[in-house]
Each structure stands twice: as C-alpha cells, then as structure tokens.
Symmetry: D2
Subunit: 260 residues, 4 copies
C-alpha cells in the first residue's frame, strides 16, 4: 500500500478547533457571511464568488428549485409516505429523476455552446436538423411565445456582466432555428441557464449538478407540504383502484415475449 | 374517481406567461431578489424570510454543506465513477447516507427540546441516562473542549434574535450532563442547529431536511473535484486488492448460518 | 496505514482463471446448478442451501416480488420516464420505499419472535396493546378473513420442515389477539415470512433484505411493462393538471410558519 | 378526468381471497413451484419460462450477483453504516452505480447484435474501430486469455438451445477483432450474457435490468457480511485520515475557476 499515489482532496477537513472548507476557516470566514448559493459556488469552483457572481448564481439556482407537481415531486412524496423514517431517501429517490428528460436541458445547451465554440449558429442548427434532433435550450410546451424566466435571467446577466458572446450566440441560434423551421422556438429557461453558466466559466458537466442542488431544496419543500397536507395516499389509492378494476374487467391483451 | 377528494398543493404551477411558487410570481418577486437559502426557507415554510431569518437560516445551511471525506462523499465519488452519465444518481446515493448516524443529530436535539418542552433540563438528562443513551446534541469526537461552530452559531442567534429559551435550555442540559457525568459534553454544531431551528419555529421532522439540502451542495462539490482530480479509482483499487489478497491468503473463518 | 487492521471479506474475488464466490468456484460449482434464490441464500448465509431450504426460501422471495401498482412501482415508472438512460436509478428510487410502511412487516414480526423468545404469546400481545401499537404480522386490509398466501406458506413450511416453534408461537399470538380484541387478525403474508425466516435461522435484520431482493425483480418488471405500455406520462399529466387547476381556482389557505 | 385514457397494467392485483400476478394465481400457480429467477422471467416477459429458459436465465442471473469488493458493494456498506435503519436505501445507493461503467456491458453487446442484425461481423468491427471505441463484450482486464464464465455460459446455451446465430456472430466479431488488432479480445461474461439474452428474445434495454436484479442480491449479501464483520468504519477512517493529513501538510495547488 505504501507505493500507492496518496489520496488528496481540497474539499475540507477538521481539527480540534477548526473546520476548514476549501482552504477557508468555516467559522471565521464563511458562517454569517455566505449564503447557501455562494457556498455552493465555493464548493463547485474552489473560490468565494464576487458579488456579481453570487447574484447571478443564486438567480440560476432559484429558477430551478420548484416546478410544481413534477414526477420528481410525486416520487419524493410517495417514498416519504412509504418510509417516513428515511426522509433523506425520499429526496434521493426524487433526485434520481433529474436525468435527460428533466435535468438535462441546461447541460445540453451548455455543451452545444462549449463544444461548438468554433462553429457558426447556422452550422449548429444545421447539425441538429440533419440529425433530426431538437436544438437544446429552445422552445417550451407551456411558456409561449416567450419564457418569462429567460427574459429575467438575461436582464440579470446584463446587470452582472454575464451577457457575453455565449448568450449572444444562443440568441442567434434561436433566431436561425425559428427562421428555418417556421416554428416558435424562443430560448427557454434551461437554455438561458446553460448559456449563462458558460459565460461564468462552468464546464457543461456541472450544469446538471446545479439543477440537482436546487431541486434538492424543492423536493424537501414538497415533503414539508406532504407533512402538513398529505396527497400521496390519495394518489396511490386512485391509481391502484383504477388498475385493479381494469385488470378485473379484463387484462390488456399484450403480446408476450416468444409465447407459445 | 369523481367522488375523490381533490389533490391540492400550494407549491407551484405554471401558465403560459407565469411561473408561480408558493403564491409568488417567480420572475417578478423572487429571481434576483432571493438567495438559495431564502428560497429554501420559502419552500419549507410557505413564506419569504425576514432579513434576520434569512441570515440565520443561511448560516445553518452553510454549516452543514461540507464535512470533508465523509462516507457520503466517498459514495458519491464511487457512484459517479461507475455511472458518470447519471450525476443525479451519484448525489442521490450519497444523500441516502444522511440517516441516523450522520444527518440525525440536529433532528434528535430538536425533538428532545420540542417534545420535552414541559420537562426540566435535569429531567431530560435523567431520562437519557436511565435509558443508557447519549444526550443528543452534546459532545464531539474531534472538536474538544468546544465546538467552534456552536460558538459562532449562538453569536449569530443572538444577533438575529433567535437566542431564546430553547437555546438556553440546551445550554442548561449541557451543564447538567457535564456535572453529572464528569465528561466534557459541550453543545456540538448539530445540537446548536436543532436548538436554533426550534427557536425559528421548525418542526423537528424538518431538521434532517435542512441537512439534506445543504449536503446536496456538498456532494456536488465532491463530484466537481472528482472531475478535476479523481480519487475514486485509486480508492476502489486499493480496497479490492487488499480484500483479494486477504482472501487468497486465507479467507476468514466466519461462522455461517446453521451450517452442518 | 501499515498499522491498520486489514480489511477482509469472504464475499468473493477474481483471478485470471477463476471467479470465487463465498469460497465456491462460480463456474465449476454454481453456474447451471443454483437458481437465483439459492444464490441469494448463499450470499446471505455463506453456504449453499439444502433442497428444503432452497424450496422454502424461493417461495418467500416469490411471495414478495409483485404487489401490483404500489407506491414503489409508480415511483420506478416515473423515474424511468424522467431518466431512461439510468434504469438502475429508477429501480433504486422505487426500492427506497421499502421502509417501515411497506418492507417492514416481516422484519417487525421476526424481531418480535426473536427478541421475545422468553415471553409467552399473551405477554407479547399485552405489551403491544399497552403501547397502543398493532401486533406485527397480523391483519390485512384486503385479505380477509384469511390471507391466502399465509396458508400456502405454512403448508410449504410443513413440507420443508420449517413449521417449528416460532410458527406455532405466531399462531398462538394471532389467536390471543383475536380473542382479546374481538377483531379479525389472521397472520398476514409478512407475518408468515417473519416466522418462517426465524425458523430458518435468519437474524430479523435480514428480513427487510429479502424483501428488497424480491422487489428489485418486481420493479424491473414494472419498468419492462412501462417500456411496452407507458402509464407514467398519463399519471403525471393528470396530477399536474389537477393541482394546477386547483391552484388557479384558489390555493388552499394553509397556515404558514410564524407568518406575520 | 373522465376523458382520460384509462391506466391499465397487467402486472398484478389483489382481491380478498386472491393475489394475481401476470394473470396467474400467486398461491395456486406460483408459490412453491417457481424459483426467484423464473419469477423474474415471468415479470419481464409476461409468461412462465420453459425449463430450458429457467435454467439459462438463472445462470445469467447467478453470474451477475457477486463480483467482490466493487464500488457498488463499498457504497452499500458505507451507506448502511450511515443509516442502518434504512437498509433498503443502502442497497439502492449501491444499485445507482450499475451504470455505463459496470452494468452496461451486456446492454451494449446486445444492442450491437440487435441493431446490427443486417451487418456482417467485419462491418461491425470496422464501425467501432473508426469511431475509436472498443467493441462491446470483448476483452477483460483480469480474465485472460479467456473468461471462464463465457465458456460455461456458452456450454449451458448449447444444452438449453440458446447457442444460435447471435452467439455465433459475437464469436465471429471476437475473431475478427483479434485478427485486426493483434490483441487478445475474447468474449467476456457480459458479452456472453448480451448474446444469450438476444437469443432468448430480450430487448437490449432489459439487459441492464437483469444485472440490477442480480446485483440487488449481491449487495444485500455484502450488507449481511457487514452486519457480522463491519469493514466500512475502518475504510472511512483510513480515507479521512489520509485526506486530512494531506490537507494539513499542504493542500494541492489546483487551478480554480476564473480565480483572480
């Protein structure tokens, strides 16, 4: 074992009279001075944010906390009902759903901007169109013709100095895509977040991370409401009753695998 | 289905031009105005915090974000190595460990204070001693003779008006326990958090929730470091090699169940 | 590091030409000879089951695989819809719900029998009644007046030689509880499983483990059906629409924490 | 709600005197007759396996149960130490790691065979080589020059009638890849599993599902050993001590994001 490369980390450690986080004394330098969003920035980047960064980063996080009764929120409520002694597992179960269909929008938009830095907006739109894929970060099923969060996030980006070339490029991509498809494809909130995180210097791999942090707060909120006003039992009973009645009335004639 | 009690929630919803969270317009009222800690307060309580509440609540959260190379952090790193396409599941896996041994301290201290509101400090200490259980929120294996985070959190509680009767009672419990056991049992950080959350009006069931929110940020931080500086592969290989060598040299003679 | 106690495990390891599991050569001794239930027995106990043990243990597992549209099944379907690239996380999310309300019945019954080995059935019933708690393993909301699974499991226990004193004691507990409460309290399936696992020599802590193994197969089954016949999208949309409509019509007047 | 398409499922339901699973009476038709592997087959496919299918499918599952001290096993042990009251969450946390790096081998091999049914072995190898990707299902870091599990699984496939064209094609792919790369690239166990599952008629999307079922049993086994012989505390302490000492000696000089 003595020849192994040592395991090193800069995240934090404790001694008898100190807790050190990212090289900072937690008690002397961080407690009472940093809000949670700024602390998350410190954890992700290794340094304390400037005021403009703290404002922008908190706004990105706040955007992602709560989206109503999502599959993730329903999940956390169902699992909390099933195992109330393990609240942490109920949040974890909901977070498992922050994948490609829900937590992946900002990631995909940031990746497009970061990996396509040398490409023109038109080239990028072409590539997605020939692959038959939607362009990340554009369009929204509910928020039409504009996503109101995008407008506000870009305003804040302007105020904090993060409305640079990547934001401009995503706007050009949106215009190009709309012209060529004749569809309404405004930049949605996750697209805006992906562009602004790119301006702030974040690797696209960390966009999903930011949505996971924010949504943890949101799912805990749903569990807190479930404590006061449970809806999981009613939801479960409805589904179970409908499925049971349907199965008794006559099960679906599904094809089964290689049945003889 | 028509006779079912309707499912209602106050968490949030979207229309074409608005996103509403807890009755507030996300864009007009929250974005750029609230930090993530204040947003978490809104999610848990249904209202926007006052300045003093925002300061205190953020400090509690910041305390809980990062504790170095905990089992939870090691877990998130190992799972991220195993399934890098599902960062959310790596955070979820780590959060599963915020249970009785790690995330339960503040919860246990707050429960003691909330359920024991009619009991004296001496009675409470007696009850734990006769049950042979440690008093929640007291003592720390590393931080001796005082936990520096407790000192700071109580200072902030004083500044924000949350140093009331529950904080005083936990201090009396600490003094009583030390006098009777002759051991050094200062209030630790999770004890302080449980007492202050009780002052702020939170149900003890939500103390673990607060640690889950904070630790989500911490675990994401570990994954971000793992991206730059991976340690999971080395850790896994060391353990695997040691176990394999030990098994080849001679497996442990364990007793097996009802073997014949 | 050199002075640390070495880390040892008997679970398994690999060399260039062998895979060893619990001291057995996987290829020569297990593949094609053991079914999955017997392999699980080997993993839990460290030895290959006798035929009677394999029959009984497989029956316990098969009982626990599928319970229809449970909260766990709904969860796995919702999370699979959200992150289809991470099927493993969808199963994990559902398993998080195998806690006190769903996976805990056999555990509680086995614990009652194992920790109360010196107590009479009447004493045990008394203790639960004075604590105001239901006796574990008795009664069922749907299966009345008898749980058909219990009848079959006890038949199999008789055939395989596992209908010993613990099964008899749980039956006496059921009779005693019915006589004193005047309610119909037959042994339910999880009670039968807890008693039979106690006969087989399993620590009560492993009863929940057995239900987790079985339910993993069940949740995977739900995901396979979801692939052919998706119901998660419809379920989510219904709930979201009902909550949104309710919130627009007028949010519930909930009391919020310390609002001013 | 009345106009919604009804939610239907064929998985199972209960009435007062019956439990129905996939159209079968659990008590009359399955308990005592099916082993867990056959029950998993029923859950995945909707029908009871023939004897040859049950033998082959159980062998595939048994192969995947236990791989020694994997990242998943370490995870389940660490999380069980952290939250022993929630064993289910410890298994769930470990399962979260059955992703592309660990649970994806059989899936990738099966997908290659199913989507490339019209392509020649040489064409398939060419495609992976020009993409600079390894061919799925070939080669193993430990098992050289042959994976002993593959030999056995193909023997069983021959006995049970599942050594058809897909198995032959994967063997041709292996030969072709070895000839052109001059490297030792035998079919590994996950490659064999992917080929045999394709012979059995399974969609490639369900290969990962099968590894999740099997590994649930394996992770529960590790938790059972952890109960008798805990290694998580020692492992955690070693890592924490090494990282703490390293950080005190001097933290790594990492580049931080846009630091000024």
């Amino acid at each position: 074992m003595t020849n192994d490369k040592p395991i090193r980390s800069n995240m934090g450690y404790s001694t008898a009279d100190r807790v050190v986080v990212q090289g900072h004394d937690l008690v002397a330098d961080l407690l009472g001075k940093l809000d949670l969003g700024s602390m998350a920035f410190l954890e992700l980047t290794g340094r304390i944010p400037k005021t403009s960064e703290a404002t922008m980063f908190n706004a990105l996080l706040v955007t992602l906390v709560e989206h109503g009764m999502t599959p993730q929120a329903i999940t956390s409520r169902l699992i909390y009902m099933s195992a109330p002694e393990a609240l942490q597992a109920a949040v974890a179960a909901g977070l498992c759903g922050m994948g490609s269909m829900f937590g992946g929008g900002a990631e995909a938009a940031a990746r497009m901007l970061q990996e396509g830095e040398q490409k023109s907006p038109a080239n990028i739109v072409d590539e997605y169109r020939s692959a038959g894929s939607p362009v990340p970060g554009l369009g929204h099923p509910v928020h039409k013709p504009v996503d109101p969060r995008t407008v506000k996030l870009f305003e804040l980006a302007k105020e904090t100095g993060f409305d640079g070339k990547h934001v401009a490029k995503l706007q050009a991509i949106s215009v190009d895509a709309m012209q060529r498809t004749d569809r309404i494809l405004p930049i949605n909130a996750t697209g805006a977040i992906g562009a602004i995180m790119t301006e702030m210097g974040f690797d696209w791999r960390l966009c999903r991370a930011v949505s996971v942090i924010a949504r943890a707060a949101g799912l805990v909120g749903h569990i807190a409401e479930e404590l006061r006003n449970p809806i999981a039992p009613a939801l479960w009973k409805r589904v179970d009753r409908e499925v049971t009645q349907g199965a008794i009335d006559g099960p679906p004639d599904e094809q089964v695998l290689g049945s003889d």
